[in-house]
Symmetry: C2
Subunit: 563 residues, 2 copies
Amino acid sequence: MTSTHAPASDLDIARAAPIRPIEDIAAAAGIPAEALELYGRYKAKIDIAALDSAAGTRLGKVVLVSAMSPTPAGEGKSTCTVGLADSLARAGQRVMIALREPSLGPILGMKGGATGGGYSQVLPMEDINLHFTGDFHAITSANNTLMALVDNHIYQGNALGIDPRRITVKRVLDVNDRALREVVIGLGGPTQGTPRQDGFDITVASEVMAVFCLATGLQDLKKRLAAITIGYTYDRKPVTVADLRVEGALTMLLKDAIKPNLVQSIAGTPALVHGGPFANIAHGCNSVIATQTARRLADVVVTEAGFGADLGAEKFMDIKARYADVAPDAVVVVATIRALKMHGGVAKEDLGKPDVAAVEAGVANLRRHVHNVEKFGITPVVAINKFTTDTDEELAWVLKWCAAEGISAAVADVWGEGGGGAGGDDLAAAVLAALDAPGSFRHLYSLELSVEEKIRTIVQEIYGADGVDFSVPALRRLAEIEANGWGGLPVCMAKTQYSFSDDATKLGAPKGFTIHVRDLIPKTGAGFIVALTGAVMTMPGLPKEPAALRMDVDDDGGAVGLF
Amino acid sequence: MTSTHAPASDLDIARAAPIRPIEDIAAAAGIPAEALELYGRYKAKIDIAALDSAAGTRLGKVVLVSAMSPTPAGEGKSTCTVGLADSLARAGQRVMIALREPSLGPILGMKGGATGGGYSQVLPMEDINLHFTGDFHAITSANNTLMALVDNHIYQGNALGIDPRRITVKRVLDVNDRALREVVIGLGGPTQGTPRQDGFDITVASEVMAVFCLATGLQDLKKRLAAITIGYTYDRKPVTVADLRVEGALTMLLKDAIKPNLVQSIAGTPALVHGGPFANIAHGCNSVIATQTARRLADVVVTEAGFGADLGAEKFMDIKARYADVAPDAVVVVATIRALKMHGGVAKEDLGKPDVAAVEAGVANLRRHVHNVEKFGITPVVAINKFTTDTDEELAWVLKWCAAEGISAAVADVWGEGGGGAGGDDLAAAVLAALDAPGSFRHLYSLELSVEEKIRTIVQEIYGADGVDFSVPALRRLAEIEANGWGGLPVCMAKTQYSFSDDATKLGAPKGFTIHVRDLIPKTGAGFIVALTGAVMTMPGLPKEPAALRMDVDDDGGAVGLF
């Protein structure tokens, strides 16, 4: 179970890894050549229409990879997702991975990608982490075209009576650009437009991204785009994209992007990497189209949800699974010794020191996540993602604790032994056992509850809070939402991922706290009501020494310093 | 010579046209399979490194397609470029087209693309006019990453002492967004940055785009990016991208975009469509890399330059041909009966009426352009691009006038009879004759002249102005430019394309006017000094009824209402 990690960087490992032509990966996955739109040698978009005759009608099972409350160090959820899929393939299963696309902005800011790590990565990682097949750029274009049309509508006479002070959609860029968080636009006099306070979000925070990822097809995409509320009139009536008559143009701008992207893991497992909404103000999963396409092609689809199970898994079950038939058949909760120690009170700089007592102190966090998953009718599997600093004693303690609690668990060394090695065999076996004993999936709450009741259910049942406290603006917004007929939508909680509470410093399994909802944002295209707790950063900034300063190209045109 | 134009739209014609797999086009053009990076079935990027062994060392001849002063109706320069290339191929030549990529912003605003028209189009026009292979998105990313890094540098302590009031590079979007022309950014207090007045340009107006199109390779691209001046310090010293140490990251973001894109004309002629800088504040030609790659693969390369010959051709000769060995062997000046009439004083709504006298009155505009081309040592060919409203008498008059003036000329019906038809045969014959009798190319001015003298030479020799008048700020800027050691750069004139003068209403061949230079912008990465005459719009707006309102997708995912 122990392994020596190679000292190579993720980029070095990815570069050295054998990679097969994407046509071969597609053929092995049962994707006919006519459904394949190549983007270079190792990436392809899949034309789903051309799949119809080829793909079977039976849909593969869904394994959702979630996690305990993450720490700033990262728990390796994507690494586990890729490694588990490779190990399931090694066990003879017909497997496909479904992952989110990484956002370019943070890559230029802080080291760290979203394509897995070590020997459990998807390839070509360099391309996937840079512009990939241009999906996010298309989403940026569609969003910003919409906003140019909104401001142009106001400039050209404002027939709809849009209140420039009540526009709720922002322009976006896939760049970490602090200076664009709060801006004033439309300056320069009557020929340049109407001045108004505005701001930019990062592309992944846009409702267009959320819509893109929840759409079940091109016509559903258009319907959802049409339903986006861009703001309100002077007399407080919602204004939608349909009112502006531009849903057709926006759909046209997204017609190619909406096709899922096929790539491969280092071990050659086919992977659909498609879409990537924020996990706080959106639902944080890859596109429904990718998940469903994978299910048509494979017996088991391994996918993930953003942040810990309190956020990602809950949203997967209550939002994504509501809009598409993708309820998970098994849920993996990724835990690490380091995260357990941190939740047990150890400081970040001391995580490398053996400390079984701290692991024991932090296990309450894992316990709450595990029992939360059970509330959806699914028996979870705990994956202990092995790091080089973990001791055998610490790993043994967690396995013993899980056994005592009746929780299925396995140590996974997929970073060091991925790529078809034996490091994920135990986890694969545990997941296969879970798939053979499916539970009875249920949503956490009924849509018939009021928005307020839905929020109360989530914070009490999942977070373990005593209750919820709404700010005065939030209360007013709740009334508006019900009055506008949006009360039947599910809720998307925007909360810190580091704690069950809305206070990032309350680690472990806190008790006796209240969740503070300061505002609500109706996302009528995506189809959920965002509940904001605390400050949510929708446009990240760059650090003092951005990763961009270390990046370059080599003489062969390859990326240098990417990770 | 007459033909009945089909009533079909450009999109209809493009859709109905036969299209061959891009591998076949590549193979016929001598591009080995290993140099091809496919983007779907009908587009590919060319890996130039993989061409080395295959392509010969002999470089093909360059035919530059320029035009008389354009009118708002459009003269069909791209249509003539494509049609001429098809006709040259029909005449047995090994031909390649090199064209600019269209900008997405204007496409959503006003009808009209940049991929030719009628039966002289490049395919797949729908893809080329939408996101194509993502080059412009990569340029947008690189430019905006740079600007985020600039504002982050200031926010993180401003070690370089950048004066926030003297930042000269703007953020960009490939969207027509009037409301972003003048903005204030960095609002929100000390954690959000430093407030400053700013604005957004359209992507094609960026210096990154100009650099991209003048770079001779990846290392030259990096060198030029490093040399971009982003602004000035508090003590007025220029600050470059190299000072910020981010040229490597920007080059990395452009490493795939810089590979030229291969597509085909309706007649199957190979076309490299790559890059597309503004023709006013930049040089307005496709990338040097595309032109040079085409020359390595073909005996004749047909390419174009933006606007009329006073702007596009002059910049091609004095900027592009200076930085790369691409001096034209022949120059085509496109004229239309409609444009001649308009320069002869006919109003736009009356252009359909036969009027030989007006044609005669307007021919002075054509004459000046023709003689201007001769100043570069090249004998031009006039192409009369036939429209359905042209009468035989009008066409005959122009041909007779050209013959009397000793100017080689031909009527080209490439809109209606392109695609390998006979409509461009006369033009092809005239161009081949010109290629057989090459002139002796020379630049208009020596780089050793001062910037002021260079500008004076252009406005007197090419525009026919009496002289040039510099505003007080422009005079100060001239002194700064010489003091900073940039006096040896060529000049890029930003002037209205509708007139030889800087007054768009002065049609024909005006005399007795002065050019007013109101400001100068050093583009030290691209390697030219922009001279601004009059107002130059670097961020277009949308019209009252944007084209976007007519756009949609059909059930098969095809674009509707694109053109």
